[in-house]
């Protein structure tokens, strides 16, 4: 029998060994839940919101967004000042002398150039290359390099270069010859753009434009001796090796387990950082993440996606209802949502926060003349698209399915999210009706549109079964059910639900192998074109196959317009054309992001709909570190709100969080 105990003893030994060699680090000043780990810390290759959130702690661009200002102002970052030429094409940045990397070496203009060149190299495969292609000659450089790489790697013909080193040398030379980037001196960087790009400074605050520490990258990215293709080795983004120029440095990262960042002592603005350390456990299950929050193991949930978040938001609404007068009074004063929570009596229900986000949930119509199976596509006709858009009960989706107080969407761009931009009204849908009579009017108007399009009796003469394509999970099925029911009930058409795996769904969208499909879009930068470009005929994200010469011309005209207010009006006209006439997609609602944190304990988070939290602004109240004062939202500072590429007079953006429609849905 004792021999039969052998496996047990062996197993016990294994457990003991593993547990003893594996100790957790001490608790950090802030423990943040950021989903189930990041994909990458390489600023030029990242695209995910959780990745970008960590990147903003590690890197600092030439400029930053003041996320606590109502206008999301552009403020100096690594550059202390900049100049813009009068034609809006040339930007000159002056780096601050005290800007340093986390190892103490000075931050140089060439480090930015290195990062931008990486983004433009086909060898790196930056997925956000489009942003950097705003710089003059970027596309030429990419094409040149890609063409030469193909020649170097093909088996036949004479090679254009003797070896990889010669090819790489020429690439470095060619970059400065073709691309509008000039390192005037160690701390002066001159950039020339392809065309005036009013949001270029906002792009400079985006992580694709982050600098990289050249001495480190040069060790990990070396040209192949034969082909000259950059041999990319992982490893430079690991703790102990990564050199960063932001408020924090990386001191620990165990994949899908935890990450730890500590204050970067060499950061030029380190005195303002009120956190010594941040740890980020990786938790796959959203429910477990909430449990971790409730047991105090996590202080701040940067995204709360548990299925029952609707119930928690309901509790928050009930809490607001108990204090209705105070809340109304504080809203009147223009206080932001987190500040209001802070001033209300202590209550566990306070910890959940739904904040408007820079994104929209919508349904795509396939706009091509023919369906995937070759039949004529009725949705090619804008009248049909408008009719289908009108009968959707968006309010029911928001209130009964989503339940986190997201505003109903009439247009693509979330209202008041881009300073200086006032979007169009869009058209009324079923949910805008307040009385049964009004509902009837809208349904009749939609049926009239269908009749005009040639389907007077859609129940019998609408030629196809309308399929709604959506991916599994996240409750998309429930939304599709509401819409399908609206369409069959009010228009009489037959509908079919098609649920697919995410990857298959994505493939169908790309091949436009669908009739109608769910979709969502988050804006990346503070300009209407971050949404409006989607509908351009040649855009790589135009999943609808929508093509309108008139619309493309409107975007092109706005691109040439130098006067900012007029340009914004032109873009608003373009959006009006889309959502009052063309309706290539139906906006359903604007997203909200749900956070969990105790407002009495944590301050420095923004309620701005641009959805960009800057963790280095967080101060944990009561821990004795930092100023220990609440950091509420503030008005734009005059001379800082940048809407037109140059520091301009600002401060006129409407407050975005005083509207009862947004926010906690109260």
């Amino acid at each position: 029998m004792s021999r039969a105990l052998l496996p047990v003893i062996l197993l016990l030994g294994l457990v003991g060994l593993a547990v003893l060699t594996d100790r957790p680090p001490p608790r950090a000043d802030l423990v943040m839940y950021n989903g189930n780990d990041v994909n990458t810390l390489d600023p030029q290759r990242m695209t995910w919101m959780p990745d970008l959130r960590i990147a903003r702690m590690l890197y600092e661009g030439l400029v930053r967004n003041d996320v606590l200002s109502d206008g999301f102002d552009i403020v100096p970052g690594a550059a202390e000042r900049w100049e813009v030429s009068s034609d809006g094409l040339t930007y000159t940045f002056y780096l601050r002398e005290e800007a340093k990397w986390s190892n103490g070496s000075p931050l140089l203009a060439s480090h930015f150039v290195h990062g931008w060149r990486r983004a433009l190299l086909p060898d790196i495969g930056s997925k956000y290359i489009d942003f950097v292609l705003t710089i003059r000659g970027g596309q030429d450089f990419y094409d040149w390099r890609a063409g030469m790489l193909a020649e170097m790697e093909s088996g036949e013909g004479e090679k254009p270069f003797a070896d990889g080193a010669a090819f790489w040398g020429e690439t470095e030379r060619k970059f400065f010859e073709l691309v509008g980037v000039e390192v005037r001196d160690e701390r002066t960087l001159v950039v020339t753009l392809e065309r005036p790009t009013p949001h270029f400074l906002d792009l400079c605050a985006f992580m694709t434009f982050a600098p990289v520490y050249s001495p480190l990258l040069d060790q990990y990215e070396t040209p192949d001796p034969v082909s000259g293709r950059l041999d990319r080795r992982t490893g430079w983004t690991k703790p102990g090796r990564l050199v960063s120029n932001g408020a924090f440095e990386l001191t620990g990262w165990r994949f899908k387990r935890d990450m730890r960042l500590e204050k970067n002592p060499h950061y030029w603005n380190a005195d303002e950082v009120a956190l010594r350390s941040v740890s980020i456990p990786s938790i796959g299950d959203p429910n477990t993440a909430v449990l971790a929050y409730e047991t105090g193991a996590v202080d701040f949930m940067a995204e709360m996606t548990a299925g029952y978040r609707g119930e928690l938001v309901d509790k928050k609404k009930a809490f607001y209802a108990e204090h209705a007068d105070e809340v109304a009074r504080m809203r009147e004063l223009g206080l932001d949502q987190f500040e209001i929570d802070r001033r209300l009596p202590d209550d566990p229900r306070k910890d959940i926060h739904a904040v408007p986000a820079f994104g929209t949930y919508f349904y795509n119509f396939n706009c091509l003349p023919e369906l995937p199976d070759g039949r004529p596509n009725p949705f090619h006709d804008a009248l049909v698209r408008r009719a289908f858009a009108m009968v959707i009960d968006k309010r029911a989706i928001v209130d009964e399915v989503r339940r986190v107080g997201e505003p109903v969407a009439r247009t693509l761009i979330p209202p008041r999210s881009v300073g200086g931009y006032a979007g169009p009204d869009g058209i009324d849908a079923l949910s805008d009706a307040r009385t049964p009579a009004e509902r009837e009017t809208i349904v009749n108007a939609a049926r009239a549109l269908l009749a005009e399009a040639g389907y007077p009796d859609p129940a019998n003469d609408f030629p196809i079964t309308v399929e709604l394509l959506f991916n599994k999970d996240s409750g998309h099925d429930l939304i599709a059910q509401v819409i399908a029911k609206n369409w069959s009930q009010h228009l009489g058409v037959s509908t079919r639900l098609a649920q697919k795996e995410l990857k298959v769904f994505r493939e169908d969208l790309r091949k436009r192998n669908y009739i109608t499909a769910r979709a969502g879009w988050y804006g990346d930068f503070g300009d209407p074109t971050t949404f409006l470009d989607l509908l351009h005929t040649d855009n790589g994200n135009n999943d609808r196959g929508y093509s309108s010469a008139a619309y493309d011309a409107m975007l092109a005209a706005a691109q040439l317009e130098m006067e900012p207010d007029r340009r914004m009006r032109m873009l608003a006209d373009a959006e009006r054309f889309l959502f009052e006439q063309e309706m290539p997609m139906v906006p359903i609602f604007h997203y909200a992001t749900v956070y969990m944190f105790d407002p009495d304990e944590i301050t420095g988070l923004t309620t701005h709909p641009r959805t960009k939290q800057v963790i280095s602004l967080i101060d944990v109240l009561g821990d004795g570190i930092g100023p220990e004062l609440p950091r509420p939202m503030h008005a734009s500072r005059p001379g800082m709100a940048v809407l037109d590429g140059a520091p301009a007079t600002g401060g006129t953006q409407p407050a975005h969080n005083t509207d009862g429609d947004n926010g906690d849905g109260a």
């Binding site: 100790r23 994909n39 060898d123 930056s126 956000y128 165990r254 477990t288 449990l291 995410l502 790589g540």
Partner: protein, 335 residues
């Protein structure tokens, strides 16, 4: 004995290559491009094309043979023998750059997680899964054998029926239910154990218990059946007749034979437990290997899928072999 070991070890590469071929064919057929974003902004098509070429995703035969070459260690052996490995390292040192990352069994880069290659991912996750799986098997053995003995001592008694019922529940209830209930009970209501903090001895308890229950239930039934059968055998009657104490009859004479089916179950079960359970890992935020099976397929991360599958199949073969060896210790009659 040595012959058996050698024969089985020689079979190992063959089995693994067959599994590799079938899995890669299936994974290749999964629709979608691993380099596209599932949602949101899509990279330009020419960028995708470049990356496809870099990773050999544009040709199945090229991917098949290159990956097999790297993962099997042949590529490393070749370069080591020809001195290329040393040259590259020397050159890197001379130029002051990081040495090329070469692994003997190189599973390649992860397509989804840019900063990690599959070797690093497995090296981080496998020890966690092994610890959790080992702990779960210990618990499963104690609970399972204990319950089986209780049941077999008085078949069809109340105690027997109760353990059978518990075993049935253990098999039937999915672990996300058991796990969530345990978490709510012993982490939130009675805060005995931490949530999402793998790395302390206490953090192993709840996930190991959850993972062990289905195994424990199965072991209990195997033990009970085996014991009831051997308790009716002639040598047991002989033992009782010469006055051996009942507990000794049960534990020394009967259980030894009854344990054999449990032992053969332990091989694959341990391999399964040690290569991670997606559900248990997810509920308890355990950074193990199981999540990578699922995430690999969801993201169509070919390198990651193949890496975890190769590791799992190798472990499965080795654990079965270990059980065969243990068998001979327990029962020397078996050849």
């Amino acid at each position: 004995m040595i012959g058996l070991l050698l024969r089985r070890l020689a079979q190992l590469p063959l089995i693994v290559v067959v599994i590799y071929t079938i899995t890669l064919m299936l994974a290749w057929l999964v629709p979608g491009n691993p380099l596209e974003n599932p949602e949101g902004r899509q990279p330009p098509p020419e960028v995708i094309e470049q990356l496809n070429r870099q990773y050999n995703l544009d040709s199945f035969p090229r991917f098949y043979f290159t990956y097999l070459d790297d993962a099997s260690g042949f590529s490393w052996l070749r370069d080591a023998a020809s001195g290329r490995l040393g040259d590259a390292a020397d050159r890197a040192q001379a130029e002051g750059v990081a040495p090329p990352e070469r692994y003997v069994f190189d599973f390649g880069p992860s397509l989804q997680y840019d900063d990690w290659n599959v070797n690093e991912i497995i090296a981080g996750a496998l020890p966690v899964s092994v610890a959790l799986g080992a702990a779960a098997m210990v618990i499963a053995l104690f609970i399972g054998v204990g319950a089986g003995v209780v049941g077999a001592m008085r078949p069809n008694s109340i105690a027997d029926l109760a353990t059978l019922a518990v075993a049935l529940i253990g098999i039937s209830l999915p672990s996300f239910v058991i796990g969530t209930v345990l978490l709510l009970g012993f982490a939130l209501l009675v805060p005995l154990f931490p949530v999402a903090a793998w790395g302390t001895p206490r953090s192993v308890v709840l996930p190991a218990l959850t993972l062990s229950l289905p195994f424990a239930a199965y072991i209990a039934r195997l033990t009970r059946m085996g014991l009831i059968e051997s308790l009716g055998a002639d040598y047991i009657r002989t033992a009782r007749a010469k006055g051996v104490r009942e507990s000794r009859v049960l534990l020394k004479h009967a259980l030894k034979n009854a344990f054999l089916p449990v032992l053969s179950f332990l091989g694959p079960a341990t391999a399964l437990a040690m290569t991670g359970s997606f559900v248990v890992e997810r509920v308890f935020a355990v950074p193990g290997l199981g999540q990578h099976f699922v995430a690999g397929v969801q993201n169509k991360d070919l390198f990651l899928i193949m890496g975890v599958v190769l590791v799992f199949s190798t472990m499965l073969v080795l654990f079965n072999l270990a059980v065969d060896v243990l068998y001979r210790f327990v029962d020397p009659r078996i050849e």
